[in-house]
Symmetry: C2
Subunit: 269 residues, 2 copies
């Protein structure tokens, strides 16, 4: 199993603190040795770092941990390879352009039968050989076939419901914990486990779970900041994280939970 | 005007030496203060670094200069903004997937009338507002409309001729120096200036033009290595660089010039 990390914020915010926890799990305190990646949105732009080496011994991960990139939305991933060899092209998150926006996708889980079950019709093709990238391309092809353009803000629930139905299809093939963004919205679907926390004023201290590291967000923020972090496991030990129920899709924007769609199901896998 | 940097090699090779010259020009010895980017292919995979800050004072550029990423093909760019504000989404190179491969594109020049002259039909849409990204999306839409899939190796001249005709269209709208790759081939079109050099055994010393820095490639290579570097200006002062004539497109693969297409024209601009 891989691990996911997401962030949505109402002001450009760095994710160094949370990322430092994730990268230690990449071959250090966790088994996810098979590469890591992270994408940062700044308005419509998106920059990403991908490395097929374990994050806990990656100089590039050290750089990302220490260099505060201020972003509106972040999607990160550390990999424990199941389907597809360890290589750069199989390293998540994946990024594609649709409707003049960069869509970024990361997946944790396994859906081995996906290649035989879901036909790939449309413009988006996988470059690598993972079930995750296949699912992403299939999803984008479905989106393009079903919508002419990005739904308006007032219709975002329509897109959310569409993504929920596709996510349930994939959930029934195996395990499909997923983060997806188009630079504005952050969609999070839970198949087995996915946790989130929203931090806002009054800010307090947070203590990382696996490392002796504490941050006082009061010193890092202004009173108007709202920041949500999403992760496979809670990253801190002294805060209350919320779990997304298996079968549910949460939509975040500007640091806030906009809506939760779907009914809680028995956990997949 | 921006500056371009390209590399094609028959073994994974780092470009630290050439990149160190380019980044000094990014606001240091040159006027290209408006961002920089570089993409590295490793087999089918592609990782990239994008920064809207000047490269000569960018911690991320320092990292890329000092961290040897071994690649088959590299495309880099430093920006002097003309069309489109300074922002991450307007920072080259641009990357899109077509036919299950990542295509990477960088452009130097200006084609202001492109927005009114060339209609955008097809799946690829710009995310930012530069003429360069518009040209790239238009080119990919043309490719997708004209070919069902990537032409076979034996038909690569067909694709080269197609790219040459589209390049000439853009050349006649302004200035269109261009690098394009799909991970295997590196296409280089010259509108005003573009230089290349192929290094192979016996390797010798090279001296950077703008800095007191020398490298002895004998110590960095094996006798079978073949590496071509392409740049807007020759990067070294003690080697013989070849110019591509305005109006011509060169196709490189595995470090070697495969073919030169087109007739030399009067320089654009």
């Amino acid at each position: 199993m891989c691990e996911l990390l997401g962030m949505s914020a109402n002001v450009p915010t760095d994710i160094c603190f949370s990322f430092s926890e994730l990268m230690r799990r990449g071959g250090g305190t966790g088994p996810h040795r098979d590469g890591w990646g992270i994408a940062f949105y700044e308005n419509a732009g998106c920059r990403s770092f991908h490395d097929p080496n374990p994050s806990y011994e990656s100089p590039m991960a050290d750089f990302v941990r220490d260099y505060p990139i201020k972003s509106d939305v972040v999607i990160g991933h550390i990999r424990h390879a199941n389907v597809g060899r360890v290589s750069l092209e199989n390293t998540q998150p994946y990024i594609r352009e649709l409707w003049g926006r960069y869509w970024c996708f990361a997946h944790n889980g396994q859906m081995e039968e996906i290649f035989d079950t879901l036909p790939m019709h449309g413009r988006f093709c996988p470059v690598g050989s993972t079930d995750s990238e296949y699912a992403f391309c299939w999803l984008l092809n479905c989106m393009q076939a079903s919508f002419n353009s990005l739904p308006d803000e007032k219709d975002i629930e329509t897109l959310g419901q569409f993504l929920l139905q596709r996510a349930l299809q994939l959930h029934h093939m195996g395990v499909y914990n997923m983060l997806l963004s188009n630079s504005q919205y952050l969609f999070a679907f839970c198949s087995t486990k996915l946790w989130w926390i929203t931090r806002k004023a009054p800010f307090g201290e947070a203590q990382l779970r696996d490392a002796d590291m504490t941050i006082d967000f009061k010193n890092e923020t202004t009173p108007d900041d709202i920041v949500t972090v999403i992760a496979t496991e809670p990253l801190t030990c002294n805060e209350t994280w919320h779990s997304i129920a298996p079968g549910q899709l949460c939509v975040f924007r500007d640091g806030k939970l906009l809506m939760t769609l779907g009914e809680a199901l028995p956990a997949a896998g």
